[in-house]
Amino acid sequence: MSPEQKVSENTEQRKIQFRNFAAMTGLDEDSMMEAARQNFVKPWDELSASQKRGRLLTGQLLQSFNKNPGNNDEYRVVAWRSLFMPTEITYAMGILPFTTEMFAAQLALSGLAGGRLETAEGSGFSPDLCSFIKTGAGAVLENILPSPDIILTTTHLCDPAAKFASYTAQKYNRPEFVLDVPYGLWSLGNNASDIRKLENAVSYVASQLEDMVEFITRETGLKLDESKLVSVIENTNAARKWLMMGNDLTLYTVPAISLGSKELNYAANLMQTWGTEEIIDVYKSRYEELQAAADSAEGDPTRPRIVWFHLRPYYRNSILEYIEERVDIVQTQVNYVFWDELDVSDPYRAMASKMLFHPGYCPVGIRTQMIIDRMQKGDGIIAFYPKSCRHFHSSARIETEMFKKAGIPMLIIDGDCIDSRGDDFHVMKTRIDRFLKGLQSQARNDDRTISSSGI
């Protein structure tokens, strides 16, 4: 299918899809757009950091339906991306990324995920599968997502995401590019064979990224301007710097200055906003807010502190509120800056390295030891691991044993981020209470040292 035919088909399909999406929320299209416009009235500079983030994401979602609350509606070339696909190339080529997992989280926040989960399960998606994916699948089946122009997928971390991408390519009859990412580079040593493997892996991924650019051009007609790619990567580097500075403040300021539940909403290292100009300002504003809070920090400096692993439950629940009444969540894994500044003179290899060295994509023993080396004495860990996430849930026992040996208390909560059907607050509360009691009895060392990127 030619790019022009795709544009023509998508234009019509997205009208229907936006109508379906609005109807699911109980609104008609005009009411939804009016509500969106109201939210866009306040000047950007007057928004808080989280409001800026919200506006950026809302704007992107509406634009993917060819709607624009701040300007005239226009067609946008949309690339569906799997969660760990970098976004710099798409922005540099004028393409809007769309992440189904993020959409799923948004539906759960609005209490709208349940119906989508049931639709997916009714169509053959196993109840054991990741609920982010199933919610996305339900939304595909109900035709409430904007038709993609292309689909961009990586193979790392999440197996069902890669399979789901193939499913969507078939459903929408749109071309898919799959980027294969080798595993376990963190475990390589300094011998000649390992050095060769590292070089092979980086070259393999970097050359696939270049192939992806060719694929995008072939399928959309859009060409990459290398100078634009440099400027997008500079945006990423600038945003990264502000994010790291903010992370240091949340981790090392005593008493604690931020609500971890609010911090979890940034889920920075998963976001599709890397490379935009706006995200620089989002993280800069976050830093300024945190700095102001640090300057006037009040509270109990002896309160127990924890680091939060994985994501939060997005559906309405009391878990985080209950925990935060008793301890401070001072760092979150999803905001961890794990990558070095991207080298603008060698962008493909820089992006390849970032993907290959994702700490979630390395042997559990190595990943856990890296965390042990960075943890502050006295701090504990709460891991909210969905059972449907094979990747993290299966790490729990090994992590627990290693952290225990290192004297770091850890609580694993078997929950789900999206699916509230198995939620049992009372069972969780019993376990949380017991864990917090143990944590409170631990002595805490306030003699903190500064690292540059948090946990």
């Binding site: 998606f125 898919e176 393999y204 559990v364 449907s388 790490s395």
Partner: protein, 355 residues
Amino acid sequence: MNKPKIGWFCTYTPVEIIEAAGLEPYGVRVNSGKAHEDVYLGDAMCSYVRSCLGGALSGDYDFLDGVVIAHSCECMRRFYDGWMFKQEDIKPDCLHFLDVPRIYTEKSIDFFAAEIERLKEKLEERYGEISPGALSEAVARSAYTSKLLSQLNESRKSDAPFVTGAQIQKLMIQSMTTPRDQFNSELEAILGNKTAVTDHSRKPRIMVYGGPASSSLIDAIEDSGGIVVLEHMCNGLRQIKADVGQDENPCKYLARSYLAKPPCPRMVGEHSIFGMSQIQKMVSEYRVAGIIFFSIKFCANSQAFWPMFKDTLAGDVPVKMLEGDVSPDVNVREVQSFVKKLARRTERHVTGTEG
């Protein structure tokens, strides 16, 4: 003299390298470990992997000199982590973790070839140099096995296949642990004595699609009145390497022939789509009356592949999804019900009363 045995767990492991090193590859079967080991990996992990780690921890593989674990999927990845975490309590060493690409392109072939070369180097460090001649011979002998197995499968296209699915299962299981030359001789003998013992022409012809599964699944299908004509499974078609011609570099040849074989659900992209068209072709060539899609519970690749699988084949052939584990416990009633339904259709077709 007994050769040291090296365990492997996934059909994407190039056992030819192990053979060329003068070692004996030993495919760890679904029934060789402890079915419900969930202490270290949690209870949301596929039962094959749990069984394998359970077997390692309880000493079931102490006769092995080492193992090679392939990065097939997220469960196998964690299996490697579990093995390394408990290595002090497990006798055989994990000799190598083999990265296996999930796409089939010229670049992924090159990358996998380099990974196979690394495996070769690891084995050489421990067992001595692998000569080019030994490697060529191992590759040739393995290609011959694939050729014989393909001939055997080809013969199953006939109305009255001279082997049943149950017999094929026995052979496939045997192939995982029997020395190559001995197994090739046995295959030659079987192919040289093709006599149909029973007329299966009125039985519904069934394909099984899945991962590693207990042979009791095949038994249940055939005990219910069906005849299994093809196993698109780890203990089936996926043990047959693709015929990809020649390559001067044996590691590259192996990389190509392994990545090109009928794809496991772990594969994505164009090769996965090609795999679906292969299945459609097989349905036609083998005159398959129905497919049982056997998904191991918690195998995310298989579970996430099912919706696409059934949608693609809708209208071509009846497909039944069965979920289970690697234990011999099979939901026999569901199997019987599906086979009976297919038997009625087959009877109508044979007697000309269809429609």
